[in-house]
Subunit: 358 residues, 2 copies
């Protein structure tokens, strides 16, 4: 089913309003959540709305949070999300980073006591209109086994970096620090298809193509898949995201990150509060004149776009190209929703006593 | 052959002194270069000394550089390395980052007009004694093909992140953004052994196990190896390192980075000056009290060290463990040098009219 952006926006916003969010927060949360759907990261958009509702029902999301800076220096801050929607806490924190960057060149904000924040790319891209480089990362519930381990210790812990250009569209990298995102794994499960070797392992640490292996104790693998192909690098990257997001801020980390499914009990002896995020903003003119920087970014992008391809039919892409293309299509022709997602949204509508509008 | 640290130090320092480096610069360059040998990253230590000498002979390294800050804000700076040894330029720039962090929480320095800087980990670790997180990265001569490409566009562009702990040793990640480092590939070539599939590709972009394939037009692969296993993420990471190091600073980037072998002609139409680096320093107490942070880092490290292993014989490692272990062994019992490296060093000694001391 294809649903227009504006219809889906109104329904999603009404859901957040029914949860008790303010007009401003509902608007923001909806904008962030749907940025995943329009950019083609379907696993992080309205497919997760029912998950947010259940966390709210379980009392794990505060619809009226008092989000605030609890510690700061000229270029840094720690933000307490007061258990609010990450979809609202994250833009608040990114704005703090941007303001710090306006004052002293760069701004860096670590966040405690938050929840899932949608796609990292949205927050990183907030910096672009200020001629800043934006950085966003978050920890998440443990699904990933470190190299040499069978225990799920890290989330898929994504990193996003958005870099402004001049005539060219911006460079926007946004990726999980695993071989494949959990979203891709979920799609294979739904289709009952096998995963490529190197995405997941069994409960005993053996290679497998079973996309549903996490249900029987398996784990996702860090970027690199195995030691010989650099999984210790993916493990290090996921660890850095965890430490910057949570050990710096006072959020919970590693295997103690609160689970997204509301029916999974909270970990015992949590060492911090809620999920953690980390944001950065760097003014490009804190390094060289913005026009020089953008001119050279255009040159960089054009040169890489024209790198000699393996096949002429598949040119080299710049990070952000596929998502931007999907965005322009979906804003015009609508967002495709799978049947289980449509049913999920209808259930929310019934529960919240609102119309889906489709 | 095993050579003691102090013998190798004296010889290496004498080489830099004969190049015309000041006493202080020779001392610093030697300390940085040998940190690779003692930490087991043999490809980046004295094995490269003859390469530096040849670059100096070719007039591409300035032994008496006027290294200076050419642009700054409270939390940022651009450093011009004046074509000096990266081994000297990088610690200068990292110190600027540390000073900025002391003033306003964090410091971020992009460097133009430099040369190869040894191992990234050395520079990142400079932050540790100040209770700061250190970050270091550099671009390098193009050996790596982006996803979907057969053209060498990026260097192995390493990233290092050093994070202080309390009772535990620090977390020190230091890795090339490729599946395997060029050093590992060189070792396989020397031994005439095959590389695992996924490390390199042929001139036509086909999979190969030929460790010497770069000599016949092949390329190294980004972390992830192929599209299905996330090579677009490794390509994005290597690109971010290139842009932060060079597009921000005014250094040369992508396929225009100056080659390390002095016999390879300089690229035409270089868009910037020399190699680029990027450094960051973040005071942990710019986020939370340093003692709290270190307590939780200890907890993080202990929990991950005790993650359930696949085999009891191979426990889960913390980034930096293998290098620290080698360092303690090699500082006591000496640094093993392969025969071609010994011959290389003897040739330098003859050319420079100094003793090797071994």
């Amino acid at each position: 089913m294809l649903v227009s952006y504006s219809t889906l926006f109104q329904f999603t916003k009404n859901t957040f309003l029914q949860m008790g969010c303010s007009e401003q927060h509902a608007q923001m949360a909806t904008t962030v959540l749907l940025s995943a759907d329009v950019r083609g990261i379907d696993s992080h958009g309205v497919a997760r709305l029912s998950g947010y509702v259940r966390l709210w029902e379980a009392g794990r999301i505060n619809a009226t949070p008092n989000i605030r800076v609890v510690h700061e220096t000229p270029s840094t801050a720690v933000v307490d999300g007061d258990a609010g929607l990450g979809l609202v806490v994250a833009p608040y924190a990114m704005n703090v980073a941007i303001q710090k960057a306006q004052q002293c060149g760069t701004g860096w904000v670590s966040v405690q006591n938050s929840n899932h924040f949608g796609i990292a790319g949205y927050h990183a891209m907030m910096a672009l209109e200020y001629d800043m480089i934006g950085i966003a990362m978050t920890n998440a519930s443990a699904l990933v086994a470190p190299t040499f381990s069978i225990e799920k210790m890290l989330g898929t812990n994504p990193i996003a970096v958005a870099i402004p250009a001049g005539k060219q569209p911006p460079f926007v990298a946004d990726f999980a620090t695993t071989t494949a995102s959990n979203g891709k794994l979920e799609i294979l499960q739904r289709k009952n298809q096998a995963a490529p070797l190197g995405w997941v392992q069994t409960v005993n640490g053996e290679p497998t193509t079973d996309a549903a292996i996490l249900k029987s104790g398996g784990a996702m693998l860090p970027l690199g898949s195995d030691r010989e192909h650099g999984s210790h690098k993916g493990y290090a990257l996921g660890s850095i995201v965890d430490i910057f997001s949570a050990v710096l801020s006072g959020a919970s980390y590693g295997p103690w990150v609160p689970p997204f499914p509301a029916y999974v009990p909270m970990p015992e002896n949590m060492p911090g509060k809620g999920l953690g995020h980390f944001f950065g903003a760097m003014r490009v003119d804190a390094f060289r004149p913005a026009e020089d920087f953008k001119h050279h970014m255009d040159n960089w992008i054009e040169r890489f776009r024209n790198a000699k391809p393996v096949n002429e039919a598949q040119k080299v892409l710049i990070p952000g190209d596929p998502e931007r293309e999907l965005e322009s299509i979906r804003m015009k022709s609508g967002i495709p929703l799978l049947e289980p997602v449509v049913n999920d949204l209808r259930n929310i509508a019934q529960k919240m006593n609102i119309d889906t509008g489709f």
